[in-house]
Symmetry: D2
Subunit: 335 residues, 4 copies
């Protein structure tokens, strides 16, 4: 349930309503808006009675929220969430391009690619130090050494860093180094990890599960927001279908659907959707064309030698072309 | 197998090779290229021996074709197929916009929508006179009366007409009225219909089946080409997946994949993929951004009163916006 | 809408109601039940008013039918449909085993396999004379010659014949030879073919489309019933999913769902679902265990030489084991 | 790579080979078989040279393992793995029935259901104390209190306990109480959890991911085995498809495929596949008919009041029928 306060409600009135919510065994979370405050009533296991609150001083109305998600929903917060990461605004109108290798392999590799990302107009740098791998025998990432390289990339090029956290054990460490903490596809419903991310002071980049509905995906974000972290970026990365000419099928309809249902920014990862290099540029343009808030792209200076996902990594010159075309499409949509 | 003739091969030499192919129990189909002729060897049920032909006068080389498709493959014919329909070139560089209602309902309806299509910059007009419907109790189309209305649209607005043929019984009639004959999703593997389309003098618009692989789709086109009709336009319209926020999931990767594998033009129908009006414009822009050769869009002057597919039909003013945005993206990709 | 007549309603009263339905622009189809007649009101494009009929003499009640299907629904006809094909009852309690090769290749092949089918306890013989093939260059079946071989099998072994009809052009011929006319997966929504099947005097074996919902499948059957042929056998044969270890994924839930929704018998084809021989026997047992009304199995005396679907055809001795195990499971469920 | 030792190889020779493997930077894991030992060479990131080992004393042959899985593969260990859990043998020939409620809600609920499970012939008891829930606002389980109730069930009825572990934080506690630790669908690729399970002394019940291929599933088991725990039970529970008449589509082909590829036992959970009570019994019979090593079934004394998954929970008397029918099918397959 959502309790909408009057514009002229005093802080005292707001506090009183929040006390009343707690008294009923629920959790109250204030949602500051442009001109008024609303209070989300969470964890109501049974029915919540609107009459409990609707006559309290300062209350304008109470709204039964029918969608299973509350905090992530646009009904709760109509304004777009804009997340500031250093110099970059995600959701703030400009398309954000995050790029880098799948995995950090060495300082030379990372710096070479970061230089290309910077030069081509990328906004942030990505690279995995902890890698979730299907096989226990595959390269599992450089760990903290990789994180240190990422920190050096940030220092040298001024690019904020996005890197993946794979479990609770490495969360503190990743959080220390990263500007944005990524939760990958396979962990979209790792609820402990989501709760921990909800306690983080860093924004969270939440990829859609391989066969998750949009509702399940938003509910995963709800876990993070319900713990107090309002800064979640959603990322569509393709879903698993019968199709075999691409690694996954990019579900671009999800972008307008998420933008209608939620105030959170939503980006697109065409690299993992495609799985093949020559589909990445067209799909990146398509993502810009549906008005996604940003792109996450895999780039590698030597894709053939990459420890993982080489076949879908762009060559530096391809990334440059991608940026130019994508910015042009962005320009059109702003006219 | 493909027999590539020398540039200076005489017609007599070409004829002799074709005779030799027939003598071996196969069908020979000459494929004129820019500067030389190739001969496709079809219907070879067992192994075809390259040595049978490779030493004949005028033969440059013989190529074993490993893909199951032959005539539709780029290996067989590297140059893009360009199909001329009245004033419109499909596959010729300019994005072709086909638009109109799902079903023709009346002359007034058709003329009103056609006027909008023309004014907004659409290239061709679509509208169903014979409708394949899931229920035997749903409106099945106006039949010949609908075709006559389509002819009047063409006469009045100069827009070539695309309309669907649903079975062998109505093929002759549809072929008489239409500029392009459409074969729908449910008929993609109606092999008798494909063969009949292969004997037609009209270009064929072949939609992808609801759960067809790209290979099956190209093989369906192969049926048409193998009967002698080289003018096939492919159309991606979304595939069936677990996703429920859209009617189908638009598989935009299919566009670059088809363009690499085949010389045939490939268009996109975002209306049937989306199923909901507010996804159609973003997906149409995305289709332009992946460099599809054209779009097929449902427009209706009164979507709420449409006899079918109203929820996915654009209002006239939305179609106008779509055309403007799509043309702008097209412009960028040509720079 | 369904008009249920009183048990003691006279024929005159029934006729009067049917006249009244026609007068309202609808089609009336009487459905004889065990102890009373009901009248289905079809093709009602607009709203049908219950008050038009509910006070007529002999009428017990009128029921608004909310499911999109009418004639195939259990609400319309609660009793199971039992279809008699020569000595075999489909839907009559005993599990019916239909077996034979994918395609008829020669008289020797057909007779050898039929002898095995008969000896192992198979009830009917299947074999394709007209084959829908993905490639125009694949073997398309023996045509009428194949049908004549099928007739000889029937004559020799007393096994009723099921064979596929691929288009309107071959329907009359197939209908003449076959005891049951099969409509394949790719033709499940070939609505002209369904209508023609609805005019046939022969029972129709209707396979589920590759990605059809149960509702679409039942609506396809509705096409046949709405033209007057009440004898439709449904056949689940696997649906297309992301899974790659089998050709399709057998959807056994569909069997109890169809049996709840419809009175038509429903069989299972594990051969096309599996695509690999060693999965066929377990899936056949599973189909018997969910209480399907029958099985359709591919058997071949020399699978390695089969012109199509060899990899999924059982060896004769495997078929014998299958029959024994399946009959044992059938026995348990009857106890 | 797999190093197969001679039957008469001494322990000294085995140790020497294992030393040699470590020397090459790999991990050696001995796999005792019926009459000889094999040594799996793990974590080989580059190529492993067979010549390094094939001439060492006691070595019979070296086998390049092409499947991505090693320890779980039948090539590595041809004999079926049999897991002893108290009085119950999983994979030992007798079909194992695990049953109980989705979540433990109270002692009364658990004891009532356990009594029914025991009486009907169930072998083990299931019930969640930690529940992974799509919504942060849903009931998340009773935690340790629930585990204590489970321990009481075991004590009272002699039924071994299977219960789910949802993250690293609760692993130790769950491991203390449970006889078998379950890893759920959403955690199938939670690699940290898999590694922790690999260090456990308790058998692990590993459910297939919602859209996992059999290969990915076996690789998840490989994570567990590679850490030293050989006791993994796989469980098919349906995959996500376009189908809507059931919650998931039960992929019964996976059972024979897993049994061919791996030596690990594989069970089936028809409750989560179906999602609807009236499909559970037929699917359970089908699972027995494909020769699964066991079943996991949801039973509840008051399904309508269940805190989760009530719609798919059987009534006690339905569970009794299920057991009787499933045992009868099991009997047939043993004849």
């Amino acid at each position: 349930m959502l309790i909408v306060m009057r514009k002229d409600a005093s802080q005292q009135q707001i506090d009183a309503v929040m006390q009343a919510v707690k008294f009923r065994g629920c959790k109250a979370r204030p949602i500051p808006g442009g001109d008024r405050v609303s209070i989300a009533v969470l964890f109501n296991q049974g029915a919540v009675n609107e009459s409990w609150f609707e006559d309290m001083p300062g209350v304008k109305q109470t709204i039964a929220v029918t969608r299973p998600y509350k905090l992530v929903g646009r009904e709760t917060k109509p304004q777009d969430t804009v997340i500031q990461v250093g110099p970059v605004s995600i959701g703030g109108g400009r398309l954000v391009i995050i790029a880098g290798p799948c995995a950090i392999e060495s300082e030379t590799q990372a710096m070479t690619i970061a230089e290309c990302v910077k030069r081509s107009g990328g906004d942030m740098f990505r690279g995995g130090a902890f890698k979730p791998r299907t096989s226990p025998y595959s390269f599992q990432g450089m760990g903290e050494e990789g994180l240190k390289i990422l920190a050096k990339v940030r220092e040298t090029f001024g690019l904020p860093i996005v890197t993946e956290v794979t479990d609770l054990a490495c969360f503190d460490m990743v959080e220390d180094y990263a500007d944005v903490v990524q939760i990958g596809t396979r962990n979209m419903q790792n609820f402990s990890l989501l709760r921990r991310a909800g306690e983080s002071r860093k924004p969270v980049f939440l990829k859609r599960g391989m066969s998750a509905t949009v509702e399940e995906w938003l509910m995963a974000a709800e876990y993070i927001l319900s713990e107090g972290n309002p800064n979640v970026v959603l990322c569509e990365r393709g879903v698993r279908t019968f199709v075999r000419h691409s690694r996954n099928t990019l579900d671009l309809s999800a972008v307008p659907v998420v933008q209608r249902e939620s105030h959170l920014p939503v980006m697109v990862d065409p690299s993992h959707a495609a799985g093949y290099r020559d589909q990445v540029i067209p799909l990146a343009r398509a993502a810009a064309a549906v008005n996604a808030h940003g792109l996450m792209i895999e780039v590698h200076n030597e894709p053939d030698k990459a420890t993982s996902d080489g076949a879908q990594s762009l060559y530096p010159n391809q990334f440059e072309i991608l940026c130019r075309q994508v910015r042009a499409i962005e320009g059109i949509l702003k006219e």
